[in-house]
Amino acid sequence: MKFLLLLIILLATNAFASSDIYTFANTEQQTRFAELTQQFRCLVCQNETLADSNAPLAQDLRGEIAGLIQQGKSDQQITDYLVQRYGNFVLFRPPFNPTTYLLWVGPFILLISGLMLIAFLVVKRKRLEPNYLTNDEQQQLEQLLKDKNTEKLP
């Protein structure tokens, strides 16, 4: 049991937090808590969500979020609470604003240009003569290309 004590002391140094486990009025609040903490980034750690992190600050912030949920604050209010203090960096889902237009619209632009590329190529290739090269000729051509470099390793 000496070891147990040691372990507890060791862990307690970075766990000044009160209990990690929160009681909610209903399961809806509980799910909201689980989902919200997944959306925020722990500031101290490298790249973890608030839900996953064991850092003391993350534990405190989980406590704050649980408290805000218990007070009946909306998701938006809780998000604002964190952004006011830590900036947009805490949001794993970046907000849609002028700096992130490219991030959010970019994929659509890419997809549309991709679809246009498909359409363009299909139209272009379809307008080639279907039998411009028959399979035999294709083979002949390949043979010709092969013959031009038949040298092999000794």
């Binding site: 372990l7 486990i21 889902r93 970046p94 590329l117 299909v122 294709q138 470099n149 092999k152």
Partner: protein, 635 residues
Amino acid sequence: MIPELGYFALILALGMALIQAIFPLLGIWRDKMSWIVLAKPVALGQFLFLVLSFFCLIYAFVTDDFSVAYVAQNSNTQLPLLYKVAAVWGAHEGSVLLWVTILGFWTALVAVFSKKIPLQMHARVLAVLGFISSGFLLFLITTSSPFRRLLLNTPAQGIDLNPLLQDPGLASHPPMLYMGYVGFSVAFAFAIAALLTNKVDAAWARWMRPWTIAAWCFLTLGITLGSWWAYRVLGWGGWWFWDPVENASFLPWLAGTALIHSLLVTEKRGSFKSWTLLLAICVFSLSLVGTFLVRSGVLVSVHAFANDPARGKFLLLFLAVVIGCGLLLYALRAPFIKGGSYFSLLSRETFLLANNVLLIVAMTTILLGTLYPLIIDALGLGNISVGPPYFNAVFVPLMIPLLFLMGVGPLCYWREMNLKVLLMRLLYPAIIAVFLSLLLLLMTTDKIPVMVFIGLALACWVILVTVKSMLLKGWPLSFNHIGMALAHIGIAVCVIGITMTSYYKLERDVRMQPGDITTVGAYDFKFMGLTNLQGPNYTGLIADFQVTHKDQFVTLLHAQKRLYTAQQIPDTRAAIDAGIFRDLYVALGDPLNNNAWAVRIYYKPFVRWIWWGGLLMVLGGICALKNSISKRYIN
């Protein structure tokens, strides 16, 4: 002496790599046969010296030679032997050595299996590989030598390997991943050689195909192992975090998958040639960019290497030279590559084209999301984070059409297809897929979430259509076809796993005292109590949980909380009861007051299917490989 020998071997390997990079090209230019044939023996020699150097480092680890700085930082006398060996690639310097050694291995393979490749092409491929190798060896020797000695005083004890890395999943994950990353250098070299000679034909595609598939197999395996490791060791039960480092491995995977498909069109139909070349350059470039991102510290990630700006600068410069030259050559030569041949809207070419476009859009999107925080920061617009909510929101919608097309493609002819025939072929699989998934859902739950239905229906659709394609093809099937079928079914299995675990997982964070029972889903978890744990290089606690299902005993789970003695780092090892249809996962958190503990209990349905899917894909790749190797390299 041994570390110095290892360092010296590295310098010799660099010399050989330089010869391999320069002489074959000079030989082709000056028409000197003796210089051209130099490529092969030099490539083998380079590999030999790299292996020697690698074993020197292993030796330093196994013999606890703490006068070597890298060993002192990453090992400990208490460390079990397996992890002493795995510690070789546990940090930056050693993992670069692993990188270079694997590059040497691929180079040696290319040097040996070359019977049907024209000599000049072969020499050019080896020269490109030699150039890449020289760059990395120079990087290794100048900025990150793992053999550097601690000159003043040798510590009696090493610091120890990071506890998170002391796991079989991580011991095997980096070598596999690097085999994949680095393997794409062969495809890159083939592309550059083709651009240099201006010769891109079906034969070229056939030579390149097995190398690409082999690298892809390793990369797939590496990613699968990495995901499995994260699930077991990080303690959050997650299997994918969209972390920059994970994305760095996923980007070449997406581009590599696109390359395999585009290569197929180039081989069979002679189309998409310049596109295939560009992809081959891109895949390896993405591997290099990924290596840079992981090691330079420009992004914040969970798996960070120790950062050193000098390393970042060197890597970026080298990367710019390799990728820049590759793309410049492409810009100069690709316009002269002969265009493609005819295909109509309803043809396998179109579907493979759509597959490529979707994969590349997905890849670019992830690249954008990964680099966006850096771009915003570099422009002085503040700091933002781009995380899982973003990636899920943009990636999933792209995968839905991709999965749908994956079903259509294999049932379509090359060149042209009659719409009626195609629809008739697709009709029954489509109907069965919809009904089967509805039935499965109705049997288990009373409400049907749309995304689960879409996921299941698409997975069933892919499996059914793949089976149908095998039936249509008739016996005996070619290994190529079996490979395709296995890989596609692997994707479907993976999709089932992802869908089910994402929507039906149950996660409870609870406070438990010995004797408490927590119910998660249909399972009751009883906290039996704590016992002490004594490992080879850690001590800790084991929390026993008895799991029952409707009063029937299921299993006894032993969740561990370890304290690695050398660094005094606590580490959580979850207890997992693995099953075909569900995993039960218990992780012991922090102690709370009154003898209670925070406990995380997860119920993860179908989570294993994700990794089985990955293994099926690898198996598919091996099948396809068998065919193309025996056809093109051995006979």
